[in-house]
């Protein structure tokens, strides 16, 4: 019996270790429920039940790379808008801990308004969702298929600088293939950006 208990504890630890390591393409996307800056709750499984494809964008309004795509250029909003009528839901998630750069309700409310965002910013201050996905950068992109699998993870595009958007939008390429019923050719790229400001 003691051995069995030890085995169960070990299994739990192994599973916990797996969860901490994040996801890779092909994995089942961890479900979550988070609240946005307007107080609305969003549940991944509810969107999937509606047949939606879900794009997750890790977000920090004070990160220069987020400003590049939300303020200096409209990469995220324009991409989200282009696929909105094709059953794609776009969610920004801020996993920054209270007190860290770009974190907190008021800061993100203001960013949502200043950036004229067309999709919600969800707050994940304890970093649970960010860690479950292994989100490390802002922006760090994940695409979840209607079936609930991670189909793409990585960068939004192929220009890792803070000035110009890239020539190839990896999320667009992956969405086109997913919506066309094809396997995703490039399911993972090296993302770029600031580190997610998790709690210490």
């Amino acid at each position: 019996m003691r051995h069995r208990n030890a085995s169960i504890i070990l299994l739990v630890l192994l599973l916990a270790g797996t969860a901490l390591a994040g996801v890779v393409p092909g994995d089942k996307a961890p479900d979550f429920t988070l609240t946005d800056t307007a107080g609305e709750t969003h549940t991944l499984s509810a969107y999937l039940a509606e047949g939606k494809t879900v794009v997750l964008e890790w977000f920090n309004p004070d990160c220069p790379f987020i400003k590049k795509h939300h303020q200096d250029h409209r990469t995220m909003d324009e991409t989200a808008a282009a696929y909105k009528d094709q059953g794609v839901v776009w969610l920004a998630i801020n996993s920054g801990a209270e007190g860290k750069q770009g974190a907190g309700l008021e800061r993100n409310k203001k960013a949502f308004k200043d950036f004229k965002m067309s999709f919600p910013v969800l707050l994940d201050p304890d970093g649970t969702v960010g860690r479950a996905y292994g989100a490390k950068k802002t922006p760090h992109m994940f695409i979840v298929t209607r079936e609930g699998a991670v189909a793409y993870m990585g960068a939004i595009d192929d220009d890792a600088g803070v000035q110009a958007p890239g020539k190839t939008n990896h999320v667009v390429a992956a969405l086109d293939e997913i919506l066309g019923g094809k396997p995703v050719t490039v399911s993972e790229t090296e993302s770029y950006g600031c580190s997610v400001k998790y709690a210490d």
Binding site: A21, P64, K137
Partner: protein, 287 residues
């Protein structure tokens, strides 16, 4: 936050480029780290200052070394050119005169920096010196003293990240030794990663796990290049006590490996040496 200092001892690689130039500091451009950004709180010291040093005059047909020296304020870091979970490395864009050519940037070994959220970066604190070889064309007259512009960009981070950039002029005065610049360049050369003798490290694949063995190591660490294969757990498995390292790889867009990057050895006397390694994936078999 865990930080492993990157103490790197002498390495022979790069010494072949050591050129007996005698002089001179050409440029001492001083640049603010904020690049005009509002990210950095007012009143704080600038995150980054940059100067460009040359060890000697430009000579027709022979290379001349430029050292791009970044000096960092406390707690700030710059990024290595290899794989990181955040940030991006400094870059240098030269507007060379006709006939000149430029080599790649040479990077010293970085430090591992692990932040909350299992974020692993390879970074530099305090100072980073990048070396670059430039070659003037035949017929170049060192007496010209001409210069050319260079645009340098970087991202400096601590709790926050601040992009910076500047354009400065690289100039090669005709004469005048500058032992200080030569000293900086020589020290930077000594710190560059080397190349191991043939047969080292000893390596083999078992499935998707790479086994590395480098004798006479007290500790080993692997810092992957950007075009290296994807590691399952770079934080837990990327460094280990002893003379062996086991790295599990996972498929990246269907391919496992290769293993490309720096192998950092801590010797018995506590000194560190870094070596470039480039090993094929398991599909090619073990040697």
């Amino acid at each position: 936050m865990k930080l492993r200092p990157g103490r790197i001892g002498p390495s022979l690689t790069g010494m072949k480029y050591l050129i007996p130039f005698t002089l001179l500091a050409a440029v001492a451009a001083l640049i603010g780290g904020c690049g005009g950004s509002a990210e950095q709180p007012a009143g704080e010291a600038r995150a980054v200052t940059l100067d460009a040093l040359t060890a000697g005059p430009a000579q027709a047909g022979g290379p001349v070394t430029v050292a791009w020296r970044f000096t960092l304020a406390d707690d700030w870091h710059l990024y290595w050119t290899g794989r990181n979970d955040s940030g991006y490395p400094p870059s240098v864009a030269l507007e060379l005169p006709a006939g000149w050519s430029a080599g790649e940037l040479h990077w010293p070994p970085p430090e591992r920096l692990i932040m909350p959220g299992d974020i692993l970066d390879h970074v530099y604190h305090h100072e980073l010196v990048l070396l670059q070889e430039l070659a003037p064309p035949d017929g170049w007259d060192p007496g010209d003293g001409a210069g050319f512009p260079a645009t340098v960009r970087w991202l400096a981070c601590r709790e926050m990240c601040v992009p910076g950039d500047t354009t400065l002029t690289v100039a090669f005065p005709a004469a005048g030794p500058d032992p200080e610049s030569a000293k900086v360049i020589a020290a930077a050369r000594k710190s560059l990663p080397g190349t191991l003798p043939d047969g080292l490290p000893v390596w083999s694949w078992t499935g998707d796990t790479l086994h590395l063995h480098l004798p006479e190591s007290k500790r080993l660490a692997f810092y992957p290049d950007r075009d290296s294969g994807a590691l399952v757990d770079a934080i837990a498995e990327g460094e280990a006590e002893g003379d062996r390292l086991q790295l599990r790889f996972r498929p990246l867009n269907g391919v496992v490996g290769p293993a490309k990057g720096l192998l950092v050895q801590t010797a018995a006397d506590g000194t560190d040496r870094a070596y470039h390694v480039s090993l094929p994936g398991p599909a090619s078999g073990s040697p």
